[in-house]
């Protein structure tokens, strides 16, 4: 049996929280004029974590 660190429901919640946090910090950096971390975080949030959240939605 495969060892699972988190149950699927917990993992989905964690993923959602991570996506929300990444986008929040991305936009927060953008608001304070950031041009490096902000786009990296926002792209990560929208392009990777967003689809992952939808595909693992429970």
């Amino acid at each position: 049996m495969r060892l699972q660190l988190f149950a699927p429901a917990r993992r989905a919640t964690l993923l959602r929280a991570t996506a929300a946090a990444v986008l929040f910090f991305g936009y927060a950096d953008l608001v304070r004029g950031g041009t490096t971390a902000a786009p990296l975080l926002i792209v990560l949030g929208y392009m990777i974590l967003g689809p992952a959240v939808i595909l693992t939605w429970r």
Binding site: Y27, L30, V31, G33, T35, T36, A38, P39, L40, I42, V43, Y46, M47, G50, P51, I54, L55, W57
Partner: protein
């Protein structure tokens, strides 16, 4: 391996060849990198590279998702910034090629029995889709945002195909929600992101109409779509920081970002104007800009280019034959798709129709720049807009490859050999799919294109330190933005483009622009030891509110006197573009008023007869690629001579500048020019060399004069300027004075019809 749905239905469907798809994508990427532009290019490439690098806002709708992706790409620590952003286009198109492989392979499952035949035919689809002229040409330089759109198209297509396979499956609902999210996200790249929507809708109705009655799923889809649209929030946030590229200025924050000004009515109005592209003021769709038949003719013209570009018309017969062949193959592929794989057809068929006939109707273009050259007196697009049909030609290629696979199947069935062998013996028919790869290589490749970068350096260096340079449109402006903001070249020069001076936001943006110090160490030799003081006054002496108050035009149609100190010019509205002074013209006069005697003021020589229209000829002095406006009348001297047709020429300065110019060699080395509407740029170089040669010869340096005139001919020959005057083509529209058409930066003009 069989796929199993939640409902328990087992689908005897082979697992998609994701590994091969990745390999196909990698191969296509290698091709694109081999033919990648080493720097910027004409038209919008410089604008988008600059926007990405500075996290700025390009022309409406502002493309926030592209800007974010481009900024991330620009941070990649390999190659120049331009190469990194160009490579983004290449990666996006390579991803779509890999996905078209998967789509084609999936469609072929039901009617192509052997796995290897499916693989080979699907590879043909990917290669064909990747090497059609417009897809290839747009994938090797980031001229537009459409390759990112293409990647979204392809991803949504694959997800929809998966959904169509198993609409009751475990992941079916999540796939639909993800599709809605990606459509929203795609819209933030470009409104074309919505083009896949109707096809997805048709597929859902055809496969599982009851899906539309599941309100919770619909609500989830709407919320996902809304979430996908939220990157538009980037626009007002960045705009409030007033980046160098802040087109449309979608913010109410005048100085710095703040809560109240960001969440204000002004921000909302400006952002919505940007998203809805109000700036361009396209007419209602019922008002056709050209007959629909002509608009379909434009699609067909560019369709012909896809299989053999033949930019100089030397193989027109072969081009037509290939176009007819691939058109027929596409129809055959579509019919075969319908016949054997109905499930995915319900998506892909409507998609092809949407990006072909519906898109032609929606875009409502005028005649194409190179369409029906013998047709005089019709309104034309400023350039060829084949890139708007990139999705059309890409998806058509998939059908053409399916048609080719159907032909292969027919030949294999008719062969006398045993089963695997007869497929093999008839496989050479697939080589037809390699035609675009071979035929388009020369025209699609941007591998040696460096002239635009050199042109930007040359034009900026024609201007004395701290000068103001008035330009006309896309090609004499965007490359300068790129040179200044990405490469840091001559940031001391203030570029003011007349077409954007017509807007309200651009003059305000010029007020925000800092005064950058002149970097003498990296400037041209001609300015070494130059002691122009750095100006301290802003570029306009009037406030933002006063700038806003300048009217869109003044209804004056008779010559008017413009006086500033010793300068007295007779402005003749009849010689201006609209027959009356527009806001842009008034802004130029304001710039002259505020800067003559403080900053050197130049008008780019790409502007044709603009100097004459403003009555500034007696005060103008040609220095390289720009005309300096002097506060006092220019006379003839040891260094300055009158040249017929050009006015006064600063011989010493122009010759010194000419020797430092990089574009002439780049143009000759490339041996061709990108397109006819921008050919005025090499023409300007050729004219300058010729004029300089004449002047030098008149001064007694016959050998020097000959050398310059030969250089002029070399440039003309390399860029094929003489093609413009080819017999039989005399009525064809010529490019604007120097190819610096207003292009996409033009703002809607509400001026009276020219009398």
């Amino acid at each position: 391996m069989a796929m199993k749905s939640k409902s328990g239905a087992s689908h005897d469907m082979p697992v998609p060849s994701y590994g091969i798809a990745a390999g196909v994508g990698a191969g296509v990427l290698a091709l694109y990198l081999l033919t990648l532009a080493p720097t910027t290019a004409m038209w919008d490439a410089s604008e988008y590279i600059t926007a990405a690098f500075t996290l700025g806002i390009p022309h409406p709708p502002g493309n926030p998702l592209f800007v974010l992706l481009g900024r991330v790409a620009s941070l990649f620590p390999v190659g120049s910034v331009a190469v990194r952003v160009n490579a983004l286009a290449a990666v996006c198109s390579a991803i779509s090629a890999g996905i078209w492989f998967l789509v084609a392979e999936r469609v072929l499952v039901t009617w192509s029995p052997l796995r290897w035949t499916r693989t080979v035919a699907a590879i043909t689809a990917a290669v064909l889709a990747a090497t059609t002229f417009t897809v290839w040409n747009q994938s090797v330089v980031n001229e537009k945002v459409y390759t990112v759109s293409l990647a979204f198209f392809a991803v949504v297509s694959w997800l929809t195909v998966l959904w169509c396979d198993d609409p009751d499956g475990r992941y079916a609902d999540r796939l639909l929600v993800l599709i809605a999210y990606l459509i929203g996200l795609g819209y933030c790249n470009h409104p074309a992101g919505f083009l896949v929507g109707p096809a997805v809708g048709v597929a859902v109705i055809a496969r599982r109409p009851r899906t539309l009655l599941r309100w919770r799923l619909l609500l989830a889809g709407v919320l996902a779509l809304g979430l996908g649209l939220t990157p538009f929030a980037v626009e007002p946030i960045r705009a409030a920081w007033h980046p160098v590229l802040n087109e449309g200025e979608p913010t109410g924050c005048e100085q710095k970002i703040g809560f109240a000004c960001t969440f204000s009515e002004t921000t909302r109005t400006r952002l919505m104007a940007n998203i809805n592209r109000d700036q361009y003021g396209k007419p209602d769709l019922t008002v056709r800009q050209a007959p629909l038949t002509a608009q379909m003719g434009m699609w067909w013209l560019y369709f012909k280019w896809q299989w053999l570009r033949d930019s100089h018309g030397t193989q027109q017969g072969l081009q037509v034959i290939l176009a007819l062949v691939f058109f027929g193959l596409g129809i055959a592929g579509g019919v075969t798709h319908w016949k054997y794989e109905r499930a995915s057809f319900w998506f892909f068929g409507p998609l092809v129709l949407t990006v072909t006939i519906a898109l032609v109707y929606y875009m409502n273009f005028k005649y194409g720049a190179s369409q029906d050259p013998g047709l005089a007196g019709v309104a034309r697009e400023v350039r060829d807009r084949d890139y708007f049909y990139l999705w059309s030609y890409s998806t058509w290629s998939v059908w053409a490859a399916l048609g080719l696979a159907a032909l292969w199947r027919t030949l294999a069935k008719g062969a006398a050999d045993a089963e695997p062998r007869r497929w093999l013996t008839s496989s050479p028919i697939l080589l037809l799919g390699l035609f675009p790869l071979v035929g388009n290589w020369r025209d699609a490749s941007r591998a040696k294109e460096t002239a635009t970068r050199e042109w930007a350096h040359d034009l900026l260096n024609s201007v004395e330190p701290y000068g103001v340079l008035v330009t006309l449109g896309d090609n004499d402006t965007f490359p300068l933005w790129y040179a200044q903001e990405v490469e840091g070249v001559r940031k001391d020069v203030t570029v003011a483009v007349t077409s954007l001076l017509n807007t309200d936001w651009y003059p305000r943006g010029l007020l925000h622009r800092p005064i950058n110090a002149y970097d003498a160490a990296h400037g041209p030799a001609v300015y070494r030891g130059y002691t122009n003081p750095a100006p301290t006054s802003p570029i306009f002496s009037i406030s933002a509110a006063q700038l806003d108050a300048i009217p869109e035009y003044v209804d004056v149609r008779t010559p008017q006197v413009f006086q500033q100190g010793t300068l007295r010019a007779i402005v003749d509205p009849r010689r201006l573009e609209y027959g009356v002074p527009t806001r842009g013209d008034l802004m130029v006069l304001q710039l002259l008023k505020d800067n003559l005697g403080i900053r050197p003021v130049y008008i780019a020589r790409t502007s044709g007869a603009y100097v004459q229209a403003l009555g500034l000829e007696p005060y103008s002095l040609v220095q390289g690629l720009a005309t300096k406006i002097s506060p006092t009348p220019v006379g003839t001297s040891a260094d300055t001579m009158q040249v017929d047709g050009f006015g006064h020429l600063d011989l010493v300065r122009t010759r010194a500048l000419w020797d430092s110019y990089g574009a002439p060699s780049a143009i000759i080395r490339r041996g061709d020019w990108v397109d006819r509407p921008s050919v005025g740029i090499p023409a300007l170089y050729a004219m300058t060399a010729f004029m300089l040669g004449e002047a030098v010869a008149r001064r007694g340096d016959a050998a020097g004069g000959d050398k310059l005139r030969r250089r002029s001919l070399d440039i003309a020959e390399a860029s094929r300027i003489m093609d413009m005057f080819a017999p039989g083509d005399v009525s064809a529209p010529l490019p604007s004075a120097a190819g610096a058409e207003s292009g996409d930066v033009r703002r809607q003009q509400r001026v009276p019809v020219r009398p």
